[in-house]
Symmetry: C2
Subunit: 165 residues, 2 copies
Amino acid sequence: LVAFLTKKRYNIRMLPSDHSERAMRRAYWHLLLREQGHRLTSGRLAVVDCLLSSERVLTAQDIFEQARHDHSDLGLVSVYRTLETLEELGLVERVHQAQGCHAYIAVAGGHRHLLLCEQCGRATHFAGDELEALMRLVENQTQYRIHQHWLQLSGVCPQCQRSGT
Amino acid sequence: LVAFLTKKRYNIRMLPSDHSERAMRRAYWHLLLREQGHRLTSGRLAVVDCLLSSERVLTAQDIFEQARHDHSDLGLVSVYRTLETLEELGLVERVHQAQGCHAYIAVAGGHRHLLLCEQCGRATHFAGDELEALMRLVENQTQYRIHQHWLQLSGVCPQCQRSGT
DNA sequence: CTTAATGCAAAACGTTTGCATCGGT
DNA sequence: ACCGATGCAAACGTTTTGCATTAAG
């Protein structure tokens, strides 16, 4: 507990804006889970913290291993069940990659799309408002009624460009 | 064999342009497989025909079941191995959907993107040239070096809109 | 106290691998 | 005749399910 509080203060000093945004999102996730009749168990909270504090995409196994630091008797099954719940609430999304589709990340608000680093897994979000026009065009050309759009870019992030290739 | 030839003639009468385009693509696939040192085994050809004659996305299991009509002693493993080969040659691509990422489809030439029907699985391709500008914008904003883009739309096709909702 | 959530074990699922055999070239 | 491709069975990694137990409300 002391370690946790210390870490918390450290974050406040080092990354004030990041921390406050993260704390706000965490509070929102907790509220939404409660409102939808889900219990705030310690396992669930460990998974939530893991997802909210990572800037990379995470597999169920990644989350399992990381969240075990906080909550040592966590089962992998609970990670899967929590991910399912969070996905239903629209708080996390599955990330699709060439190597496989086993990763998850917290969703960004406001119709944002993913940009992934192929080397380190870092995820950045961007607005893709220009897509709306393209969708209307395709709707007219094909006569489909379009419900979902899905745009994802991948490449190499600035940090990975500097270190190595 | 007689049944095959009859079927072929039937297609020529009913769908002349579709058939000739399909025959051309089939010939190209065969050529490319040969050039890359792959043998045109009957199992492989059954899988190829299955992919080329479907306007829907197909799972390995789907292909296995359908291709067995032509080639009854086909193994599921060969379907997977053929899909892997065709993917390496850039002839098929994996399709990513909310329900899972286990489907494949023949790629369309010229940087086209997928539009999927959520109800019947029908796949239509469209050009998304407008994406280039968006990608350059995101590259400048984020300093990523973008290698791949990936756009997919889904909705309900005209046929499914008519037959019930 | 109620009952949702859990961990465990086992099953299910899609996919890959090892290996002896088959079949295209 | 060569050697790539095959089918089978078995292994694999990921995800789901059944069930008795735990713990949040």
